[in-house]
């Protein structure tokens, strides 16, 4: 099996348009979740982490100008702009050619261009744009990818599944390089749905805290450029060492009560990576801050004998970015590996989960070699992925 290295990456969130901007915000402790009063998104005030629209359009014009030769003038949706800027930034520092037949594009999203169901967009964009494969075609065509993209839509584990899928096709030798990108926008569709579940916290979310009352929604996009050839950037090489998914087979909207199934995904990922619990130095948890998710996750971590390992959730900074979450959080987690630095789990004050966790409460340096990223979602799905620094 071929090793799979992370060559470069990107995060677009409320905290910036590059990985560096986002990591700097984590270092400073800046939180991107705010009270938003926008009738286009929800009839009342709601906590959201939003990408700045003016900045988005400026950045997009810059990217468009660079690619203008290949692309006739066309309108792009908010999400398409996310993907295009993120891939552009992800590819900037590394010469992986989209047109190379050995390069694969994997896209993760839960809802794609779902805002196009709203009347205001119906005249601007063709109904076809609602189809996730059409979204994929638009992104692939923009950069001239020669292979049709693989599109993953698997609820909140989509991003991790996308990285895992790309890694597997690289490990098996089917491709040499992969661009993995995941994104979702904040939409009335999704906000109203989570509100109907009474799952949205009235203040910025507080993962693993005693007083957590729900999640905060966010929007964003993340990109990882993977290759079977290590880059020669001089920076430490980080590999995708193992990954797995499982299903709770229990409930479509509530997580397992025992955490055994997420524990199963962690066990399978560690087995593939040939890593023992003792070797895992850090966990980037799903940590949505809903009462049940965090409870389940604490049990899964205990079940996997990882209770002593430092753990954080990035959702306290930029909220739950759905189809982007698995990728943006993996990028942040691998930045921790690269920089030997752990970020405080924003929103956490008082331990509030049944199984003890070692939640990171202050930013701190730490010698790191292996980190675990977990995710769980509707439909009872769980995913675990391990990153290892060589």
């Amino acid at each position: 099996m071929k090793p799979v290295y992370i060559l470069s990456d990107n995060i677009i969130s409320s905290l910036g348009f590059t990985t560096a901007e986002n990591i700097l915000s984590l270092e400073k402790g800046t939180i991107g979740i705010r009270t938003v009063n926008d009738p286009a998104l929800y009839p009342g005030p709601v906590q959201l982490s939003l990408v700045d629209t003016d900045q988005l359009n400026v950045k997009f014009s810059e990217v468009l100008a660079i690619h203008a030769k290949k692309n006739p003038p066309e309108s792009f949706t908010r999400l398409e702009k996310f993907f295009i800027i993120s891939i552009h930034n992800g590819l900037k520092s590394h010469p992986v050619a989209p047109g190379n037949p050995r390069t694969l594009l994997v896209i993760s999203t839960t809802k794609g261009n779902i805002n196009l169901l709203e009347n205001q967009y119906k005249i601007m964009f063709s109904h076809h744009r609602l189809y996730l494969w059409e979204l994929g075609n638009i992104v692939a065509k923009f950069f001239g990818f020669s292979n049709p993209p693989i599109i993953i839509s698997n609820a909140c584990i989509s991003g991790v599944v996308a990285i895992m899928t790309a890694s597997r096709f690289l490990q098996s030798g089917a491709y040499d390089h992969a661009v993995v990108t995941g994104g979702d926008i904040a939409s009335e569709f999704v906000i109203s749905g989570f509100q109907s579940f009474q799952a949205i916290s009235p203040e910025p979310c507080k993962p693993f805290d005693l007083n957590r009352t729900g999640l905060s929604l966010g929007e964003g996009c993340g990109t990882m450029v993977l290759s079977t050839h290590p880059g020669n950037t001089g920076a430490p090489c980080i590999r995708v060492a193992g990954a797995a998914t499982t299903n709770d087979a229990n409930h479509i909207s509530g997580p397992s009560r025992t955490g055994e199934e997420l524990g199963g995904a962690i066990r399978k990922a560690m087995l593939q990576a040939m890593v023992t619990p003792m070797e895992v130095g850090y966990i980037s948890a799903h940590g949505t801050a809903t009462p049940f998710n965090d409870e389940m996750e604490s049990k899964a971590i205990e079940f996997s004998k990882l209770s002593a390992v430092p753990v954080n959730s990035f959702k306290g900074y930029w909220g739950h970015t759905l189809g982007a979450a698995g990728i943006v959080e993996s990028v942040a987690a691998t930045s921790s590996l690269r920089n030997n630095f752990l970020y405080r789990s924003a929103g956490f004050e008082t331990p509030g989960v049944p199984a003890a966790l070692n939640v990171v409460t202050v930013n701190q340096p730490a010698e790191l070699k292996i980190c675990l990223k977990t995710a769980s979602g509707f439909g009872g799905c769980n995913a675990a992925i391990l990153y290892q620094k060589d």
Partner: protein, 230 residues
């Protein structure tokens, strides 16, 4: 010489992966392992089609009536496959489910959107919203059959046997699954098309050795053949 041996060895592994049971539901027809088990001359609405087949097959599962269209269709397709070939011999965390379609959950997305487009009648409902993700059908299938292994939902413009084979082959090659349900589950309006296959390793002792169907090799050609001609 060594190369030739290795190549034939690799080919043998590929040959050994078989479809041991399949179902295909489309155009008022239901075909299971080459047999037409349901056909209705008059065009049925989707809801009536799946309900009639559900009743004819005497499946007892009250949860079925709560499901959205894709979940009903995928659930039914899996029940028909597993009626013919049991997966009882497997540890449930070694059984995978990999599904694909074109319109994701668009049918149910429109239903949820209808509950929020009018501010004077704003009634988003969790029981609709939860189905606005395509992988919920995988959750339903896993709940019914206690399947806990690898799961993934992929999106493709049209039926793509190659994508499904590539994805599932990799799961078998890397020993992540011993058996896998794999298929296409598409519903939009009254048009539906579901193709579900059970993939197993021929030489695995856990395979039920008296299936009601003469297994065929699991590959792109056979998936496309079933889709076109059955």
């Amino acid at each position: 010489m060594a190369d030739a041996t290795q190549q034939s060895f690799i080919r043998k592994i590929k040959m050994d992966r078989i479809i041991t049971s399949y179902s295909h539901l489309h155009d008022n027809k239901v075909i299971v392992n080459g047999r037409l088990i349901f056909y209705q001359e008059n065009i049925l609405k989707f809801a009536d089609f799946v309900k009639t087949v559900f009743k004819q097959e005497q499946i007892v599962y009250p949860r079925f009536y709560k499901m959205d269209a894709i979940s009903k269709l995928g659930f039914l397709a899996v029940e028909l496959v597993l009626k013919e070939q049991t997966i009882d011999g497997y540890d449930r965390d070694t059984v995978g489910v990999v599904l694909c379609n074109s319109s994701s959950s668009l049918e149910t997305d429109i239903a949820h959107n209808d509950t929020i487009k009018d501010r004077t009648a704003y009634f988003p409902s969790p029981s609709v919203f939860v189905y606005t993700l395509p992988n919920i059908v995988i959750g339903e299938v896993c709940i019914k059959n206690k399947i806990k292994g690898e799961n993934a939902f992929l999106i493709s413009e049209s039926f793509n046997g190659r994508l499904l084979c590539d994805y599932v082959d990799e799961l078998f090659n890397s020993k992540r699954v011993d058996a896998c349900l794999c298929g296409w589950v598409e519903v939009l309006g009254n048009n539906c098309n579901a193709l579900m296959v059970l993939v197993e390793n021929q030489d695995d002792e856990k395979v039920n050795k008296s299936p009601g169907f003469n297994p065929v090799i699991f590959n792109e050609e056979n998936l496309n053949f079933i889709m076109k001609h059955n």
